[in-house]
């Protein structure tokens, strides 16, 4: 019975084919440093899940953002855990992604034929930093408010277009409700959409090209 259901599905979905190309393939023997990419992926997924849960209670307005976070921490069952995971997960993700970059660099894995994997990787690193920057403002506490104030000021020093960038980031001359809703939109819609697409490209390339082998002395 189970066998026939499987065959029925397999004929239509190509499950065996997926299994053969993705899971049941030979890859070079590698060491533990090669787990950093999948660790980043895991943390990225965890950020997505905890982030969605937070968005149930979080309110992106200056009047209510802080209180809604306080409510998540004190009023919601396991709210402290969800927010805590999201908070610490962000830092850990930056670390794992950065060490992943360093290990790729160290083994020369950005060379032929994996140049494109490297490009997408650089964009992922920038994307992750962007998530960190936009997410930091959302709790609307002293720390986030002033960090974003200086952060956007720095962007404002860019020659010629600096003032324009500053105005786009803040949605005016000062930090306000507009800034908060812009950062919120960046943090939960725009950046994640870009990052998810880039991760897909990244993983496609990794699977297609295979993970690199550890180079020996004369390669």
């Amino acid at each position: 019975m189970a066998q026939s259901i499987f065959t029925w599905l397999d004929e239509r979905l190509g499950l065996t084919e997926i299994y053969d190309t993705i899971l049941d393939r030979k890859v070079p023997k590698v060491n533990w440093w090669f787990t950093l990419g999948s660790a980043s992926l895991f943390l990225g997924l965890l950020q997505g899940i905890t982030g969605m849960m937070l968005s149930v209670y979080y309110v992106p307005t200056p009047d209510h953002a802080y209180d809604s976070i306080t409510y998540i921490m004190t009023g919601v069952q396991f709210g402290w855990l969800i927010r805590g995971l999201h908070h610490w997960g962000a830092s850990l993700l930056i670390l794992t992604a950065f060490f992943h970059l360093l290990r790729v660099f160290f083994y020369g894995a950005y060379k032929y034929p994996r140049e494109f994997t490297w490009f997408t990787g650089v964009f992922l690193m920038i994307g992750a930093l962007g998530m960190g920057f936009t997410g930091y403002l959302l709790p609307w506490n002293q720390r986030s408010y002033w960090a974003t104030t200086v952060g956007s000021e720095i962007a404002g020093t860019v020659p010629v277009v600096g003032d324009f960038i500053l105005r786009v980031l803040r949605g005016g001359t000062d930090l306000s409700a507009v800034t908060l809703s812009r950062f919120f939109a960046m943090h939960i819609w725009i950046l994640p959409a870009v990052i998810i697409a880039t991760v897909c490209a990244h993983l496609y390339l990794v699977i297609r090209l295979g993970i690199s082998n550890i180079p020996d002395r004369d390669s």
């Binding site: 993705i22 899971l23 030979k26 908070h87 360093l102 032929y112 720390r143 408010y145 720095i154």
Partner: protein
């Protein structure tokens, strides 16, 4: 890369695959193990380190030292080295070049060899950059001064305590300890002005939290109430104003109920029969509530400060007479009962009743009396010892 190098690489890679392992389960198993380890680490961090509480954003508090997330600190620190006119070199040029270099790395590095010993230049450059980033981050952490411990009250309980404290210091001298108002005495410029109550039902039912906060922030300058908000020349941050309002609302508005665990915060405990009160538990709280608004520096008070135990015993123009152990004629006790002190020579009044506007509840006046009669114990332990000794007799 030359065609021959490509072929050579491909060959080696095929060989490595042949000698390799299966993606499932060998690789996946390692990946899952590491992810699981990280998850445990995360839960540990959340449970045992948690998230540092921060006060609500206050745009008027420009004294706050900005602190970016830790992974931006190196950039932030780096900017300190390129000040003024050439700032854009640090904020734009160098970061842009760095990102470009990172992106273009596969083209910049034309060497077909991969082992690190064959790429010493590249490895050293990256090494220096990473060490530099770590160094800048450490430098930033060390050189950024400690944030002045802001009064971040998050629970209602903390807010009540903080609000009570602020109310006592800033508002009692005019509005009285219970917001009852009345004829003002002992306040410069408003002597004799009759204040309406701000704790009445009328007031509480018609003023929203926001209105109360605004009144405290802007003051009512035409009527003589000074502004307290930082943005308007006062000394209180937004969170502090909010705490005062929380205190006023929960103490005076009969429609709201204080949550169980918060109701005892800052309360003055009653004493049992024969119990000796202490400064630590009883007197300090009464003083905080009824006296401190006038008896602190820069107020008119015969130089009598009451912020600490030491101050209470050792300051004041009439220092020797204010608190005399065991003496019911201590000025403190007399004035608390409404008896003003006259100059023995001229007969002029030198100290009016205390507090000048309205006497405290009998219960508290009594507390002060027992305290003085027992020699003014400071700590709870001292008071307990006195209680025990008294009962043995």
């Amino acid at each position: 890369m030359k065609e021959e190098h490509k072929q050579e690489y491909k060959q080696k890679y095929e060989q490595a695959k042949q000698d390799g392992v299966k993606f499932w389960p060998d690789i996946i198993y390692k990946d899952l193990l590491v992810s699981f380890g990280l998850f445990i680490l995360l839960v540990g961090l959340v449970t045992f380190v948690g998230i540092h509480p921060e006060a609500k954003a206050d745009p008027s508090d420009t004294s706050y030292i900005p602190r970016p997330e830790w992974y931006f600190l190196f950039l932030f620190e780096f900017l300190k080295f390129v000040p003024g006119k050439i700032e854009w070199v640090g904020t734009t040029l160098i970061p842009a070049l760095a990102v470009l270099a990172l992106l273009a790395l596969p083209f910049l590095d034309k060497n077909h060899l991969r082992h690190w010993k064959n790429r010493l230049t590249g490895i050293s450059i990256m090494g220096v950059v990473v060490l530099g980033m770590v160094g800048l981050t450490v430098r930033s952490v060390i050189t950024t001064p400690e944030q002045a411990e802001g009064s971040a009250a998050n629970t209602i309980q903390d807010q009540m305590v903080l609000g009570q404290e602020i109310y006592s210091v800033y508002c009692v001298e005019c509005h009285g300890p219970d917001g009852e108002g009345g004829i003002i005495a002992g306040v410069e410029g408003l002597e004799g002005v009759d204040l309406k109550s701000i704790s009445s039902k009328d007031e509480m039912y018609t003023r929203s939290d926001e209105t109360l906060e605004n009144i405290a922030a802007f003051g009512q300058q035409d009527l003589g109430m000074p502004p307290y908000g930082l943005a308007y020349g006062g000394e209180l941050k937004k969170t502090e104003l909010e705490s005062v309002v929380t205190f006023m609302r929960y103490t005076w508005d009969d429609r709201v109920e204080l949550p169980e665990d918060a109701s005892s915060a800052g309360a003055i405990p009653e004493i049992k029969e024969f119990e000796v009160p202490s400064y630590e538990i009883h007197i300090s709280r009464i003083v905080q509530r009824y006296c401190i608004s006038c008896h602190r520096p820069e107020k008119e008070n015969n130089n009598y400060l009451m912020q600490t135990y030491q101050e209470m015993l050792t300051t004041g123009d009439n220092q020797g007479n204010n608190l005399i152990a065991g003496d019911l004629n201590s000025y403190m006790l007399l004035t608390n009962k409404g008896i003003s002190i006259l100059d023995p020579v001229s007969g002029e009044e030198i100290i009016q009743q205390m507090p000048p506007t309205k006497l405290m509840k009998d219960e508290y006046i009594h507390l002060f009396e027992i305290w003085v009669l027992n020699g003014m114990p400071e700590t709870a332990a001292e008071a307990e010892a006195l209680t025990a000794a008294g009962q043995e007799e």
